[in-house]
Each structure stands twice: as C-alpha cells, then as structure tokens.
C-alpha cells in the first residue's frame, strides 16, 4: 500500500510540506482534516507527481516500488486516481466523453461494464450522458469527477474536498457514494476535507494537518473526542474556563 515517508515539498523557497508521513491502510478510508492553506492539496499533488521536482526530501512508496520522481502519467497507471479540488471536469466534452477519458489507460473491453457501474452509482449522469459537462450543475460535476476517476478502476482514490460548494443534501449524497465505493469496490480512499463532521463520519482513520505537517492522528472516535478538534474543526466549544493554560499545554503536545 501507499506509504509517504517524511516528505518536504517546496514552492520555490516556500516550504508547504514540512516532513509529512502517512500510511494508507488497504480497503480503508483515510481522512485528512485541516484549515485552508494547511498543505492538504499539496500533499496529494506531490504524491501524484504534479509538482515538478518535488518532493524535495523524503520518499513515497507504493508496495515495494518507490514512486516519487515518476511522471504523473506513469503514477496513474499504477492505480492511483485523483479527483482534484474544484472538480475540473472537461467542460467542453460530453459526460460520456469525460467518463471515457477516465478509462483512457485501460485498453480493451472493460469500458462497457465500468460505465454501467458508474451509471449505477450516479443515475443522473446516465440521463445526461450526451450533455456537455460544462452545462452540469456543481453537484453533477462532482459526481462526474468521481465517476471519471472510478472509470480507471483505481486501487487508491484521492478525493480533494469533494463537498466544496455543495448543498448539505448533495454533500450527504456524495459521502454516501464514497462509502459505497469503498465498501463495494474495495477502493482505498484518501479523503481531504474541511467538512470535518462528514469526513469523520465516513473515515476509518484520520489525520489533522496544520502548517504543512500532521499534528494529530487517530481513529475518528479519538479525533472527535479531542478538545482541539472539537473546538477548531467541529465547532464545539470546550467548557474549560482556564483556557490559556489548557491551550498552551495542547499546543505543546502537538509539536
């Protein structure tokens, strides 16, 4: 499975990841929580080989193969699919064409069955298969982006903020599908989210990222009972009155 060992990623002179290590468990959903600018997207992009000459330090392993420094096109062929932040469907291609591009690396006759599987998960895409993707609603585009990634039949799927800008109802629908994909297809999922409530409700394991490093990790139950997670990510105020002292102690533990 995928293992990230102590990587550092630079944008020019700015260090966006400062020693990140992560291990995905097979057939499980792992979530990364963190505020805007924490470095969550950077981590995924680094693994996908999308940031040139990065990671600067550290290593990324898939099973017993080292994959950092490989081209994105080759990393994809190892079974890693990426649903980018902001959906990024091909707006001027039809829904069907978008899905076929997901299956680009897979030759032969799988296409039909996979298409049926994706349409089964997202019936709305089937109705709109001849429509240009640019004319879909935000929620439909997100479904298309996920469906397109599934057409690769990936071992591992990275989802970067799939709930961004969607209505609560749609968010629930998307997360329901994510859980379904994980359970039915056995896809290992790495989920990046600001919506901590939702993420913790579906994941088996979670990390919290701040300023380019993980400050906390654990099962969703552990994370949900953590004072800081409750206060900063779940929006639950802690009742402790001597806050200053408590905060200090916690901050120290995180480092």
């Amino acid at each position: 499975m995928l293992e990230v060992r102590n990587i550092e990623t630079l944008y020019g002179l700015v260090m966006a990841l400062r020693g990140v290590s992560l291990k995905l468990s097979e057939n499980k959903i792992t979530a990364i929580l963190g505020a805007n600018g924490a470095g969550k997207s950077t981590l995924i992009k680094t693994v996908m080989g999308l940031i040139e000459d990065q990671p600067d330090k550290g290593a990324i392993w898939l099973d017993d193969k080292r994959i950092d420094g490989k081209d994105t096109e080759d990393i994809v062929r190892l079974g890693l699919a990426y649903v980018p932040e902001g959906r990024e469907v091909f707006e001027e291609l039809t829904v069907l064409e978008n899905l076929l591009m997901g299956a680009y690396t897979r030759g032969g006759s799988h296409g039909k069955a996979d298409l049926k599987m994706v349409y089964g998960l997202f019936p709305r895409l089937a109705e709109r298969q001849r429509q240009l993707a640019g004319t879909l609603s935000g929620g439909e585009q997100q479904m298309l982006a996920i469906g397109r990634a599934l057409m690769m039949r990936p071992r591992i799927m990275f989802l970067d903020e799939p709930s961004l800008g969607l209505s609560p109802l749609l968010v629930r629908e998307i997360f329901h599908t994510i859980r379904l994909v994980n359970r039915e297809l056995g896809t290992t999922i790495l989920l990046v989210e600001q919506n901590a409530n939702m993420a913790l409700s579906v994941c088996h394991h979670g990390y919290v990222m701040e300023n380019g490093r993980f400050v906390l990790a654990g099962t969703p139950q552990e994370l949900m009972s953590d004072e800081d997670v409750r206060e900063f990510y779940l929006g639950v105020r802690s009742e402790v009155s001597v806050k200053g002292f408590q905060r200090y102690k916690r901050k120290k533990r995180w480092r």
């Binding site: 994809v76 990426y82 980018p84 091909f90 291609l93 064409e97």
Partner: protein
C-alpha cells in the same frame, strides 16, 4: 459573373479553410499562433515536387510520402524546438515559430532557389464544367473542394469518435487534468503538430498546382488562413472551415465588383469588422471559466 465569382470563391476558400484548420488545431492545444504553418506546408510541397521530378515516382507515391514528411516535420519541430522552451510563455513560443518560419524559408530557398517551378498535378485547371449557366468549375477546383471536404470530415470523425481524438480535445482543455487521466500530453502535442502540418501540406499541394511553386508559395494563404481562423473564433474547427469559405467568397466578390488591387486587403477589413461586432469570432462557444 456573380455565380462564377461565388464558385471560384468557394474553391479558393477551401484552401483557406484547410490552412485555418491547421492553425486552429495547434492553437487549441497550445495557444500558440504558429507562424511557421505556411512554410512547413511550403517545404512539404517542395518535398512532393522533389519526389515527383527528381525521383521520378508517381503521384500515388509522392503525395502520401510528402504527407508523411509533413507529419514528421510537424512532430520534429514540436519535439525539437517548442518543447525545449523552459517554462514557456505564449509569446515566447510564438517567437519560436517565427524563427522556425525563417529557417524553413531559408532552407527551401537554399535548396530549390527562388524561381517559380511548375508543380505537376494529376488533374488540370483547364478542364472545366459548366455547372450553372455562365459559371464553370475546373477539375482542379473540384478536386480541391472534394479533398478539403473529405479531410474535414475525417478530422471531425477523428475528434468525435476515436479515443485518441477525444484525448486530444481533453488535452486542449486542460493539460494537468489530462495528465491525471494518464494521457501523455507531450505525445499529444507532437501528434497535434504532425496532424496540423499534414492538413497544411495538403493545402499547399492544391495551391501549388493552381499556381507555381516557389518559397513564397504560402505567404498569402497563411495570412488568409489566419484571418479565416480568427473569423471562426480561433478555437472552433467548424468555425475555421466556415471562415475559410466566407473569406474566399467575399474576397472574390470584392475583386470582381470593386477592385482587384485591394482584393487581398478585404481579409483584414473583414477581420476588423468582425472583431468590432463579435470579438470572440463568429462561431466561438464560451464557457465561464472557474477562477
């Protein structure tokens, strides 16, 4: 007279349409205006001439071989020059194509000289058919039109029905996401240049056979092709084709009724007019891009 001007306009418009298609195919994928397009085609026409005259092979061998040369030329130029640019700006890439244009022009002038050569062609411009009262169309016109339409049909089918064609469209829209799909974007770019170069070369063969062959062959058609592409919105293949035909007809009508001397200027007058009325061209579709 009117119908004759229209018919000749359509015939010449077909070559503009081919040049416009060639330019749009590259522009869509890389946002580069390829100023070497015309001379890539011109050099390919010289290669066809070389195979026909110096090697003495027939048309059936010469044209496919020259088209193959055109494909390789396009691919090599992309691989050897444009790809070498490190963190390129669009302007920088356009300058590279200007440089390539000069190199190709120099190469042709050095090898074949600047005198006008007769470009042999299997059909004649003098065999004519009267298709409307008082209006004739030559065999060569018919072949030009037929070839242009066939090529367009093939291109549309390629972009619509083949996986590779759709992947080229995907790459045109977003290089990064195309790579996430596993599409090897560099190869697509090379292929784009190859295909575009072939389309341009076929226009050059047709133009050289109505005219004569010399290194200046494609100077005017390239400008016209560019104008037609702008007319069609720069990013639309059907737009480029329509632009080519419209330009050919308007230009011919102007030449027939107003002034032959200023015939060539019409293209630019039309562009200015269009850009004032519809800045995105006649046929461009626009989507609101997310920031």
């Amino acid at each position: 007279m009117f119908s004759q001007l229209i018919i000749s306009g359509i015939a010449i418009g077909a070559t503009y349409a081919l040049m416009a298609l060639a330019m749009v195919i590259i522009y869509k994928t890389s946002e580069v205006l390829n100023f070497a397009q015309g001379d890539m085609a011109m050099l390919s026409a010289f290669v066809a001439y070389f195979i026909l005259e110096d090697q003495g092979l027939g048309f059936a061998a010469a044209f496919p071989l020259a088209l193959l040369f055109a494909f390789c030329l396009g691919a090599v130029l992309e691989f050897g020059f444009l790809r070498r640019a490190k963190e390129p700006t669009v302007l920088g890439l356009i300058i590279i194509t200007l440089g390539l244009q000069m190199i190709l022009y120099g190469l042709a002038s050095w090898r074949w000289g600047s005198d006008q050569k007769n470009f042999p062609f299997p059909v004649s411009d003098f065999e004519v058919h009267e298709i409307l009262p008082g209006a004739v169309i030559s065999d060569l016109n018919l072949v030009t039109l037929g070839w242009a339409l066939l090529l367009m049909l093939l291109l549309f089918a390629f972009f619509r029905y083949t996986k590779l064609g759709v992947a080229m469209k995907a790459t045109q829209q977003n290089h990064v996401v195309a790579r996430i799909m596993g599409i090897r974007v560099n190869r697509i770019l090379m292929l784009t240049w190859g295909i575009s170069s072939m389309v341009g070369a076929s226009a050059a063969f047709l133009i050289a056979s109505t005219d004569t062959l010399d290194p200046n062959l494609m100077w005017n058609p390239q400008l016209k092709g560019f104008s037609a592409a702008v007319l069609g919105g720069m990013t639309s293949l059907p737009g480029a084709v329509a632009g080519g035909f419209i330009l050919g007809v308007i230009e011919n009508l102007f030449g027939g009724y107003v002034s032959v001397e200023f015939k060539s200027v019409v293209a630019f007058a039309v562009i200015v007019l269009i850009l004032c009325v519809r800045p995105s061209g006649l046929f461009a579709r626009h989507y609101v891009r997310k920031v």
